[in-house]
Symmetry: D2
Subunit: 95 residues, 4 copies
């Protein structure tokens, strides 16, 4: 199991992201409740999707940097360039 | 402006979907709060993303069937086969 | 069956797009043949994917504008605003 | 720079994949040349897109397993479970 040993700052940022997404979900719910136009609903959902992809990209980045290698046991073992190339690809798909 | 003139049944189904997504967002928030493992968080977000894509696919389908043609003014004008082909493509991307 | 009754100009543009994609596929093949680095291969594939999404978006746009309604039989039946809203969503997913 | 030090078998498999994709691009080109229906063209492009995503997923997997850690210098440093969790997420997005 990989505990997310992020700094307090990271945790705050991730929580701010998911709370924004929750707020977007609530806005979609209100739009559906009030029978807003499809255009409105589609835009709200597209925004929620983009925010969700952004959160996933950030979690994946943390995962790659923090958990693929145990930096205490194997300092310097993670190839930073290779990790960055991987994250470039991940980000290009998570848009 | 296109009001979503869905049947009551449609509205209920869409509301059930977005409420499930809101619940998924809350589960992600709780997982981040409690510093659950990345694996857990990534799976929860992946599930939320899939549900969001499913909701979007359903809204797009309603939009295509209901709003591209005013069925009162132009009955029979929407080519059903062409609409179905379009929705096949949309669904293949919204997974 | 829906023949693609595009103008000559459209056809030329679509052919230019798919030929570029074929060229990108050939570049990936050469890179794999010559055992180029993963970074190179991943970038080439990401480019090919983007170009493929762009071609699909263009075909979908043609399909929506040309085939959802038979414009000879039902002139003015396609709601242009609703079509544009649909295409906005499609484009946001085909990136 | 990370040379792709795959086995001969891996290289053959990747080459078979990209050649299939090149063949799919050629089929799209022929379909556009002969003014095949949108439905045909959209299905061919969707197939090409899926195959491209599959190739990317395989390259990313090779990259993660082979290049994130120099296994000669740092044997055992890559956390296999964490790598597998990452690849699960990557595969879910590369469909």
């Amino acid at each position: 199991m990989h505990l997310m040993t992020h700094t307090i700052r990271d945790k705050k940022r991730l929580l701010a992201r998911i709370r924004r997404i929750r707020g977007q979900a609530e806005a979609v719910e209100r739009a559906l409740e009030s029978e807003a136009g499809c255009e409105t609903v589609m835009h709200l959902i597209a925004g929620m999707r983009g925010a969700t992809a952004g959160l996933m990209a950030e979690i994946v980045e943390d995962h790659v940097r923090t958990h693929l290698v145990d930096h205490h046991k194997h300092p310097g073992a993670l190839n930073e360039d290779a990790a960055e190339q991987l994250l470039d690809v991940v980000r290009s798909y998570l848009k």
